[in-house]
């Protein structure tokens, strides 16, 4: 457990690299208007909540926040539910064509968004789903399913087949075996993929931008990207909204760090 000095220096450099730009923005959100407008920039001299208040009162921050939750939670639940069913079939039935299905999913996850954006817009337009929660949620489920299936399959494959066979012999149906035996054992995998899907849906911008043109239904990324400002940008409010959009994710990430790293590497390396 000895720590050579070079390691200390490198560790600190990595921590500073990851933290300083974001902490600077968080600090900006807590400054007084005079401190934000200081040229050259300076550190915070006194703490203020004013930018959070005006972001809520004048820039509809709460509206975007609620929309983001309304979109991200169902996306997470539906994606993991469908993904778990698919991953169960792929990992348990060991059929040749389910492997091909998995490869197709991998290919889909590599699509550039622009390559499907036009037809998706046209389709949603025909369904009357532009500017609707259902429309954006459906698109997000489709875009996140491949990754969820991929991660869940690697977790399900780690569940020993014997455990489940015993349940089947005891007269469980496939559905019961999935819910009573496999899911509890693969719970960390379910949890990790849920977290990754939630993060992806919370952060997504491109489809939210083209599908949600009505400010009443826009999500946080769209609200933050389209922050109005004619001559001077309202930097304090932008920083406040950005902090609000980011803090939940940073907390989730810090708390469930191990699971996320395992999920990312399951999706990345085992593939």
């Amino acid at each position: 457990m000895k720590r050579p000095p070079s390691l200390v220096i490198f560790s600190c450099a990595i921590a500073l690299y990851c933290l300083v730009p974001f902490l600077w923005f968080v600090m900006t959100s807590l400054k007084s208007p005079a401190d934000v407008a200081a040229i050259p920039p300076k550190l915070i001299t006194s703490w203020h909540w004013g930018f959070y208040q005006s972001a809520l009162a004048q820039y509809h921050l709460l509206n975007y926040l609620v929309n983001s939750v309304i979109i991200a939670l169902p996306t997470m639940l539906i994606t993991v539910a469908f993904g778990a069913l698919a991953a169960y079939a792929i990992s348990r039935f060991q059929l040749r064509w389910t492997e091909i299905f998995l490869l197709v999913m991998l290919a889909v996850s590599m699509f550039p968004q622009i390559a499907i954006a036009g037809p998706i817009w046209t389709l949603l337009n025909r369904l009357g789903w532009l500017n609707s929660y259902a429309g954006l949620i459906t698109v997000y489920v489709a875009l996140n399913l491949p990754l969820a299936i991929w991660i869940l399959t690697t977790f399900f494959r780690d569940v020993p087949a014997e455990v489940e066979e015993a349940a089947l012999v005891d007269g469980c149906s496939r559905f019961q075996a999935l819910f009573k035996v496999v899911l509890p054992i693969a719970a960390p995998g379910i949890f990790t993929s849920a977290l990754l899907v939630f993060t992806a849906a919370w952060n997504e911008f491109f489809f939210a931008l083209i599908i949600m043109t009505d400010p009443a239904v826009q999500t946080l990324p769209v609200g933050i990207a389209l922050f109005p400002g004619e001559y001077t940008m309202p930097w304090g409010e932008i920083a406040a909204a950005s902090t609000v959009a980011t803090i939940p994710l940073v907390l989730l990430t810090l708390i469930f760090q191990r699971g996320i790293v395992r999920g990312l590497s399951a999706g990345a390396v085992k593939g």
């Binding site: 990595i14 974001f22 920039p41 059929l95 622009i114 036009g118 950005s242 790293v261």
Partner: protein, 295 residues
Amino acid sequence: MKDSHRSAILFLLPSFAIVAIFAILPIIDSFRVSFYRLILTLPWLGQKSVGWENYLDLWRDPVARDSLRTTMLFAGVTIPLELLLGLGMALVLNETFRGRGLLRAVVLIPWAIPTVVSAQMWRFIFNDQYGLVNFALFGADTTRYFAPLADANFALIAIMAAEIWKTTPFTALILLAGLQGISDDLYEAATVDGATQWQKFWRLTLPLLRPALLLALLFRTIDALRVFDLVFVMTQGGPADSTNVLQFYGYKKSFAEGMIGYGSAIAVTVFLLSVVLSVAYLRLLNVNQRARASR
């Protein structure tokens, strides 16, 4: 056995249906539409089949050619730097020391931040008056402050910096997973044989890390080809189209100007570009793994 096929179909159906309708059919439709003249703002013209005209226009369009060059430059600069920095980070994170768990958590923060937020954050850092970059370069000498994002020579560099900052930690985690897959026995054997640290790195770590490096390269390339959020927030493709990457140009043509047909031709081009690169990387990876398996 028939029974298990039927069950498998039942389990896969919900996922397959939704991915087919909202991802696979749209990509096919993009190919189809790219052969039509379809303008959203002029709906009375209808859909007119024009053969390869959109692609010929794209070939002759100097903005599109610049856009392709900008995208390639963006990928060509950011990806090697991300891999290099990510490898350095992964090597540090792979050491055993107190606080390593905390550092691994901290490294996830740039990854977890929404790209739009990081775009606004970097836009503020590159600001011409309040920006830290100007302060770092010129201190209190405010007369020399400049606007990097309004300068055609610097805007792309600023976007590259924002991209590298956010994605290097993810690259590091992929490489870290690769490093952890390398057995300690190999290093011990090398130490017994009298290998130096340097030799161990070049002869052991790097060759064994090749699959992880190729995977990181694959993920980063696919992502670099679809960079959009940073450009939308930081520069809107400007100044003078100097940051007009392909996905942004396609968005502008399809959704701002309503030229769905021409936009689809751009979309298909981006798609084919990423397919070609992905297949090339996957082949390299496969060859590599087969070579290892036969050893």
